[in-house]
């Protein structure tokens, strides 16, 4: 075909092809297209010039121009396909790739570690049919002490290091004495006054002790109280419940031991120790358990009949058990936090890790 082109057209074609072959980017091809094909381009010029030719040459000239147009378009198309193929090939290259460059950071929030563990426990107890309840943190003597079988001059009050409160320096009757609750056990009484047995409840929340703060003591910490009242409940049920709960928390079988513990609102009362889950071999001792092989996990016991009776529950028909889990302690165990002050410290360098 080319051979049939007039030399002038042939020259155009040669020039165009040279530029097309040399092109390495789409814009260069586009420029060739503009120069030859578009309005005002070479082909359009040739066609426009036809009218100035003698009639017998017009047909050939027209054909020639169209041939030129076709040939340029084809060359453009071929080169474009070629360039695209090359680009894909090039994109396949992993040259210079550095997988160690940092991922682009995004803002993220955090859930307080106490919230995380509380939720985990709430979920476990919910799945066992427990209600989750709440109670006030500013309490009155009646609920924190009296109705828990700790009357006014009971020496057990000494253990509680109570924050006593006042409003406008006004005296209140002793049973209405304001305080910051020293345990979540107050909610036991509030629960028994409200619900009819049988019931199963847990109560997470903050509690207060007037203590000097150091790495292992805080005046504000978290507990989770449990209370189960029903017919025929035994110490065996308490042990079974605590074991089940521990299995769920630590996701392994945990050996526990129950030993006498004194709390006026339970009888009998116990301390529940768990085999330290952090010892290399169970019972061997480690830093967490202070080399004893046991961690003190929660005081518990059968609800004292006086407490049940004060809340109007028939003690011949119903028995119950209660436990008070040290939430802050569990949190510290779980995340290997060695300073309890971090929990209430509000330092985002600590918080943002969770």
């Amino acid at each position: 075909m080319e051979t049939t082109l007039q030399p002038e057209l042939h020259q155009h074609l040669q020039d165009a092809k040279a530029r097309i072959d040399a092109a390495t980017a789409a814009e260069e091809l586009r420029a060739v297209e503009r120069d030859y094909i578009d309005k005002g381009g070479v082909v359009a010029g040739l066609l426009a010039a036809i009218t100035t030719l003698p009639p017998e040459q017009r047909r050939d000239a027209g054909q020639g121009a169209n041939i030129l147009k076709g040939a340029v378009l084809k060359a453009l198309g071929d080169r474009k396909a070629e360039l695209e193929a090359m680009a894909i090939d090039a994109a396949r290259s992993g040259h210079g790739f550095d997988p160690s460059l940092p991922g682009t950071s995004i803002r993220r929030g955090s859930l307080h570690p106490v919230t995380r563990v509380t939720r985990e426990l709430e979920d476990i107890f919910s799945s066992m049919g427990y209600d989750i309840l709440d109670g006030p943190e500013v309490e009155i003597d009646v609920y924190n002490f009296e109705r828990l079988n700790i009357p006014g001059d009971h020496p057990a009050r000494d253990m509680h290091d109570t924050f006593w409160c006042e409003v406008n320096g006004a005296e209140r009757d002793s049973n209405m004495g304001l305080l910051l609750r020293t345990h979540t056990s107050c909610v036991q009484v509030r629960t028994m006054e409200r619900l009819q047995p049988p019931f199963r409840v847990v109560v997470p929340g903050r509690v207060f002790r007037q203590e000097t703060v150091d790495a292992s003591h805080e005046h504000t910490f978290h507990q989770m109280e449990g209370l189960v009242v029903g017919e025929g409940l035994t110490v065996g049920h308490l042990i079974g419940t605590m074991k089940t709960f521990l299995r769920e928390v630590f996701q392994k079988e945990i050996e526990v031991r129950l030993r006498p513990g004194y709390f006026p609102f339970v009888e009998p009362g116990f301390e529940l120790d768990a085999r330290c889950p952090f010892c290399a071999t169970p019972g061997a001792g480690c830093r967490v358990c202070k080399q004893t092989g046991w961690v003190e996990l929660c005081p518990c016991g059968m609800v004292h009949p006086a407490v049940l009776q004060m809340s109007g529950i028939d003690t011949e028909k119903y028995t119950g058990f209660a436990f008070g889990l040290g939430l802050s302690r569990l949190v510290m165990l779980r995340y290997e936090i060695d300073d309890i002050r971090h929990l209430m410290g509000g330092d985002t360098r600590f918080l943002s890790q969770f």
């Binding site: 427990y130 006030p136 001059d153 049988p198 330092d347």
Partner: protein, 844 residues
């Protein structure tokens, strides 16, 4: 409480039972043992030496050069300064390389040394150097006659003295808390009784009866106070005070009691032995009228034997003689009548005082003593006479010359608390979760008997159990108390676990807890805030800075530190308190807390409980100054926080995201007179309400969002170089609970394409964006599907007092594809609308 292993062995044979076994058994059956430590561990390291000779040091008068046989090798040459060292003695020798206590909790190593030019190959030890008290006048001469004890030479001293597990004695520390209810266990004999029951061994007897007495006139005793149920006074003559025997001094030390002199030591020994406090008076200091136990008079003073002058009240009880106080009953003796080195005649007081009264006195005076601690546990009133007999018998062993010149005097109206309790074996098993095979009746009976209870009617379903007086004062009075006795004897640890069987029913929904969870999930999740927990106490300084120091709060009477009395009303101030530190460390703080506040002025219920509020507080703070350009509003902490709160309220379904013209939330600037927190920015704060179908505010106030008051910011140190853009918000969970739910509803995805157009208004600078948006929506006659503000400008390109605002508007129909004609009509109406709010449509 510290318990000496050897001391326990005085009461029950501990052969074959190691201190650690004992500790474990006590922990599992009686009370928590907190530690087991060797007593005077140095005795295991020093060895018995036989002093062969002593010569004077050539260059030092006071030093001697001894030759000491330590069993192996040549006798050692040891330079010794003690005046009492002499040939023939058996002594404790620290040879080279031995570590001895340095008296400050550490140790030091004995080295070969030269003393004034003479080589010394070790040290002959005094009692103090071995941790055996204060005695340092000379070396400790071991209590062995050298002639019969040659085989001991070279042995560790502990071994020579009869060691247990390599040590002279062991100290078992028992957690006081676990003894709160057991007045009987505040002495070695009580603990020994538990050990005897655990091991199934018998107790060794002690004296319980006083010896015969003379017939002289007894010391008169009168009891006036109701708080004294029993007072026994026993005159003892023929005393010679001095040093207590070595075994007693060492046992007292092991129990944590410093030896003083024989009489004081015996008094302490008896208290630490049978848990009965007692007091010794020098009888020559008492007046002829004897003893009167009476309540103190208001303002009466006395000097207690610690030398302190005490001012008393009518709530306190006194032991008086001749009208003068000689002891603060149950707490501490008086200075004037205390036993001295020369005392030969004394009056022994053994009494029972009311626990509550002793407790109140000791608390009020801040005077906790071993005595008051025991009385407040409720001591057995039959114990005083037994304790007196024990004391006199111990004293007589050491000083056979003593005598009781007269009969004991007694006052007070005590009754024996011993009582009967019904115990049903089936009930015991039912509570413990044991069957008759695991816990047969006979075993139960044996357990009770070994703990000192009497069982009768054991062949019936309902036993009568006699509770001895020592257990009946406080501890045991109910069937459950005896269930505990049986349970711990069985060992709780041996009770098999059981599953709770219960009816299946859905757990009631707790909407507040659900809301709290959703709030936490949203804020810690997509909003990327950090959840904090802060103290309920508000520091006084912070309150001053925030301008809330005068707000009514509940106050702690005994705060953890001065300035931390206030219990917060809201969580926001605590969060603001965290801002400066976090900004300094990280340059920004996105914090929230779900917490409680307390309003003391509103009380409720039978007990006038203060009102508890539940809220979520948020703080958003970034270092750097707040942009003054209105155009930058979107990048201010205030509007970032507003956006966060809007998203939160939508996610909680208390409002529904707005659609064109109907805002999801209506934000209102509080009026001039409305109360806002003093730390809120009066000009840059707003309150959110849910909107009704017409876009009007409805329901309770859902949230308050504000920039910080600039003066407060400066007070917090957020000014100058540390300037920060701080905004805060509070969302009342109580209001959320009362607000009607607006559950998420699906909106159909449009079927026809929309037309996008930008609309720009020139407006007066006080015109609200919401008013302009309303114009745009009205102009669409139902076709405006979306309006998004994308530009706000104030500056040279618009007239002074004016601003330019521009929106992306989407016109869309549910029934057709819109065309140019629709767009044109819309723009015409918008142009008219703009004029109605005093602005104009910009066409540039």
């Amino acid at each position: 409480m510290f318990i000496s292993y050897s001391w326990l062995n005085r009461h029950v044979d501990l052969a074959g039972v190691s201190p650690h076994d004992l500790a474990r058994d006590l922990t599992l059956q009686t009370a928590e043992v907190e530690g087991v430590e060797p007593f005077a561990p140095a005795l295991a390291d020093v060895i018995v030496g036989h002093v062969l000779s002593r010569e004077a040091h050539p260059d030092a008068d006071k030093l001697g050069i001894t030759k000491v046989n330590v069993g192996s090798g040549e006798p050692l040459q040891i330079v010794c300064g003690a005046p009492n060292v002499g040939p023939g003695q058996l002594v404790a020798v620290a040879v080279i390389g031995t570590n001895l206590p340095d008296g400050n909790g550490g140790t030091f190593k004995i080295k070969k040394s030269k003393i004034r030019g003479v080589e010394s190959m070790g040290m002959i030890c005094s009692e103090r150097e071995l941790g055996l008290g204060d005695e340092h006048d000379g070396i400790w001469v071991l209590p062995f006659a050298p002639d019969d004890n040659g085989h001991l030479i070279g042995l560790p001293v502990a071994a020579a003295l009869g060691a247990t597990e390599g040590h002279y004695d062991w100290v078992i520390e028992i957690d006081n808390k676990s003894l709160t209810h057991r007045p009987d266990l505040w002495g070695h004999r009580g603990i020994a009784g538990e050990v005897a029951a655990i091991l199934g061994r018998d107790m060794r007897p002690i004296a319980t009866e006083l010896p015969a007495h003379g017939d002289a006139q007894s010391v008169p005793v009168h009891v006036e106070s109701k708080g004294c149920s029993r007072y026994i006074g026993i005159a003892i003559d023929g005393l010679k005070n001095g040093k207590a025997p070595e075994w007693m001094r060492h046992m007292l030390l092991a129990a944590g009691q410093r030896p003083i002199n024989l009489l004081v030591d015996i008094s302490n020994f008896v208290m630490l032995d049978v848990a009965q406090p007692n007091h010794l008076f020098d009888r020559t200091e008492l007046k002829a009228d004897g003893i009167l136990v009476r309540d103190a008079r208001e303002g009466e003073t006395m000097v207690t034997l610690d030398g302190e002058k005490r001012t008393l009240s009518t709530a306190d009880m006194l032991i008086t003689s001749g009208g003068e106080a000689v002891a603060l009953a149950g707490v501490m003796g008086g200075e004037a009548s205390k036993i001295g080195e020369s005392t030969t005649q004394m009056l022994l007081e053994v009494a029972t005082f009311a626990p509550a009264q002793i407790r109140r006195t000791s608390q009020r005076l801040g005077l906790r003593t071993d005595s008051s601690g025991r009385f407040e546990k409720h001591l057995d009133p039959t114990l005083p006479m037994k304790a007196a007999a024990h004391l006199v018998s111990l004293l007589a062993e050491l000083q056979p010359g003593i005598s009781l010149p007269s009969a004991p005097s007694e006052g007070g109206a005590w009754t024996d608390p011993a009582c009967d309790v019904r115990v049903r074996p089936n009930r015991v098993r039912a509570v413990l979760g044991l069957d008759a095979e695991l816990l047969p009746n006979q075993r139960m009976e044996d357990m009770l008997t070994s703990l000192g209870f009497g069982v009768s009617g054991a062949d019936t379903e309902s036993w009568t159990v006699r509770v001895p007086s020592a257990r009946a004062t406080k501890d045991v009075g109910l069937e459950e108390d005896l269930i505990e006795e049986i349970g711990r004897s069985y060992r709780y640890d041996n009770i098999p676990e059981q599953r709770v069987l219960a009816e299946i029913a859905p757990v009631p929904r707790d909407e507040r807890r659900n809301l709290a969870r959703r709030i936490q999930d949203r804020l810690s999740g997509s909003s990327a805030f950090d959840e904090v927990m802060t103290h309920s106490f508000l520091e006084g300084n912070l309150c001053e800075k925030l301008g809330i120091a005068m707000e009514p709060t509940i106050r702690a009477i005994n705060p953890v530190a001065e300035g931390y009395e206030r219990i917060r009303r809201s969580v926001v101030p605590s969060l603001l308190g965290l801002v400066p530190n976090n900004l300094q460390l990280r340059g920004e703080a996105y914090l929230y807390e779900v917490g409680k506040g307390y309003l003391p002025e509103v009380t409720q219920g039978e007990f006038q409980e203060p009102t508890e509020i539940h809220e979520v507080g948020l703080v958003l703070a970034r270092s750097g100054s707040v942009s003054v350009s209105v155009a930058d509003f979107a990048n201010t902490s205030l509007f970032l926080l507003k956006g966060t709160v809007e998203d939160l309220l939508y996610s909680l379904e208390r409002a529904r995201p707005g659609r064109a013209g109907i805002p999801g939330l209506v934000w209102v600037k509080p009026g001039e007179g409305e109360l806002i927190p003093p730390f809120a920015h009066r000009g840059r704060c707003m309150v959110a309400f849910a909107s009704d179908a017409k876009g009007n505010a409805t329901g309770p106030e859902l949230a308050f969002v504000s920039a910080i008051e600039p003066g407060v910011g400066a007070a917090l140190g957020l000014a100058g170089d540390s300037v920060a853009d701080v905004a805060f918000a509070s969302v009342s969970i109580d209001s959320l609970l009362s607000a009607p739910e607006k559950p998420v509803l699906h909106r159909p995805i449009p079927r026809f394409p929309g037309v996008k157009v930008d609309v720009a208004f020139a407006l007066g600078e006080d015109t609200l964006a919401s008013d302009a948006e309303a114009i745009i929506v009205q102009s669409g006659k139902g076709l405006v599907a979306d309006v998004q503000l994308f530009d706000l400008y104030q500056g040279e390109k618009v007239a002074k007092g004016m601003k330019s605002m521009a929106w992306h508007v989407l016109l869309q129909s549910d029934t057709k594809t819109l065309g140019d004609k629709d767009l044109h009509k819309f723009l015409t109406r918008v142009e008219g609308g703009a004029k109605r709010i005093g602005g104009e449509l910009r066409k540039d």
